[in-house]
């Protein structure tokens, strides 16, 4: 729990339009992206957003498609809020916050169609690629949502998977010497806005999260919305909501540029 003094400090600064770490209301923290940090993963990225640190790893395997989508690959997103990352996180299965985060990121990835799932089908109804995105939070200083989303996108953009071919008797054969890119269709970006009193802030740090009334997380693809999640114990007015979406759209453009820069995507 945040102290009263710290709370007042945040509120007083905000009243004057400034933030505890010196940022403007709509400023992101410094972002560092390091791709390929995990040799055993097919794709990986470590993202630092200020002091928040998250790693996403992509693992792939051959699986059976779901009966209702026999010609589509499978995308699974999982997030672990590890006790290493915060004194408030406890060991055990993902809690509601970790599950919500994974599901919001999952919807963003899925609806942005970052992956062309149809191209991840090998034999319709029989064999498709299963793409696992595992998010590992290592240090939580606020806005794990956007850091995790960014790490997931960067890991997918830079992943390389073995070439799958069919043997004569229709068995799947993986050639691990050939590494192919995933079929990427676009670069989404996820932006979280916090509401504190009557102010809207981009990329809240942990202390800001603790005093925030509500959050709006929005994922954009090609300047369009593809996932939204309002979070937090208080409400947003319609005007605030619309303002959040407009700010988020602007910052998403910024994040797409950072993502492409950090992953080298689009340069080859």
């Amino acid at each position: 729990m945040i102290s009263k003094v710290r709370r007042s400090q945040i509120m007083d600064l905000l009243a004057m339009g400034s933030r505890v770490d010196g940022r403007g209301l709509e400023d992101l923290r410094t972002i560092e992206i390091r791709c390929g940090v995990v040799a055993n993963a097919d794709g990986s990225a470590e993202v630092r957003m200020g002091k928040t640190l998250a790693i996403a790893g992509v693992k792939t395997s051959i699986g059976t498609p779901f009966p209702d989508t026999p010609d589509m690959g499978i995308l699974i997103v999982n997030a672990e809020f590890l006790p290493i990352a915060s004194p408030t996180f406890e060991p055990g299965p993902p809690d509601e916050n970790a599950i919500e985060l994974a599901r919001v990121i999952d919807r963003g990835l899925r609806r942005s169609e970052i992956l062309d799932l149809q191209k991840l089908c090998i034999v319709p109804g029989k064999a498709v690629w299963e793409i696992w995105v595992d998010i590992h939070a290592l240090n939580h200083d606020g806005n794990l949502m956007d850091a995790s989303a960014l790490a997931s996108v960067a890991a997918l953009l830079t992943a390389r998977i073995p070439k799958a071919t069919l043997t004569e008797d229709k068995e799947v054969n993986l050639d691990k010497s050939v590494r192919e890119k995933l079929p990427i269709k676009g670069v989404p970006a996820t932006v979280t806005i916090a509401k504190i009193g009557d102010k809207l802030l981009v990329d809240p740090c942990l202390d800001e999260e603790e005093v925030a009334d509500a959050f709006l997380t929005a994922t954009f693809i090609n300047d369009k919305l593809c996932a939204i999640q309002k979070r937090g114990e208080k409400s947003l007015t319609v005007e605030e909501t619309l303002k959040c979406l407009r700010i988020a759209q602007k910052k998403a453009r910024e994040l797409v540029a950072i993502t492409m820069e950090g992953t080298g995507y689009g340069k080859d």
Partner: protein, 247 residues
């Protein structure tokens, strides 16, 4: 997703169940049907059928969860194994855990939690049959259960989803419209306050479409709000009659 060309809007502009895009389904509401609970409601919205019950304010177990300055709100959204097409394991799925959280957060802004420090208000939602928009119907039922439990509230919460099918924005999506449509946007607000308490989007919308969808949803919430108030009033009258008969 695989079959986006599914026809969900007929040539006459009507949806598969005969509704116009801006129409919500019939809603049946019963307040106070579960005797053990402090408050309860049953909501039937088309084929979506929900029971909600409220226990509390009551003591918190385990005690260390209690807060000195306000009640905690706990919420469990749960689907009966038989409520969906394929039998569902009764253990809470990741989806149920997320929905429990967003429903709780949709209700909390409406509750004067400060009036009940050290207590919990427990909200239980059981989906008996699911045909789309279950989280919105759950919010309606839970909001009425809270009110009928006598919990002091800033406002009732009303909820309605917006979908996009064959390119058209529609209200109160059914299961088939969710599955084969392009968008599901669950939405809840305190209509008397004009404040949004739940807002999710799963699907692609331009900013302009999102704005339009919010307008539609707000209007639908106002309509549902009236139904909620009527159901509570009916319950109140019924209760008064019962008292008068006794007296």
């Amino acid at each position: 997703m695989k079959d986006k060309e599914a026809t969900l809007i007929l040539p006459d502009g009507r949806r598969l169940d005969g509704r116009r895009p801006g129409e919500i389904r019939d809603i049946k509401i019963k307040v106070g049907i579960l005797e053990n609970a402090d408050g309860s409601a049953y909501v039937e919205q088309g084929n979506t059928k929900i029971y909600a019950a409220v226990y509390g304010p009551r003591e918190v177990h385990p005690r260390h969860l209690a807060l000195p300055n306000k009640a905690i709100i706990r919420c469990r959204y749960h689907m009966a194994p038989f409520s969906v097409e394929e039998r569902k394991s009764p253990a809470p799925s990741r989806r149920e855990i997320e929905l429990s959280k967003v429903i709780r957060e949709a209700l909390t802004p409406a509750i004067f939690v400060e009036q009940f420090p050290f207590t919990t208000i427990d909200v239980f939602v059981e989906v008996i049959n699911a045909d789309g928009s279950t989280r919105c119907a759950s919010i309606i039922a839970a909001s009425l259960a809270l009110a009928s439990a006598g919990i002091p509230m800033r406002d009732l919460v009303a909820a309605c989803s917006v979908g996009k099918i064959n390119g058209v924005l529609v209200l109160d999506v059914t299961d088939v419209e969710d599955k084969y449509g392009e968008v599901d946007m669950p939405f809840a607000m305190m209509p008397g306050k004009g404040e949004i308490t739940l807002f999710q989007l799963d699907g692609v919308l331009t900013l302009e479409e999102a704005e339009e969808a919010i307008k539609m949803a707000s209007k639908a919430c106002m309509e549902i709000y009236e139904k909620e108030k009527s159901a509570l009033k009916a319950k109140y009258i019924e209760a008064r009659k019962a008292v008068e008969e006794v007296v």
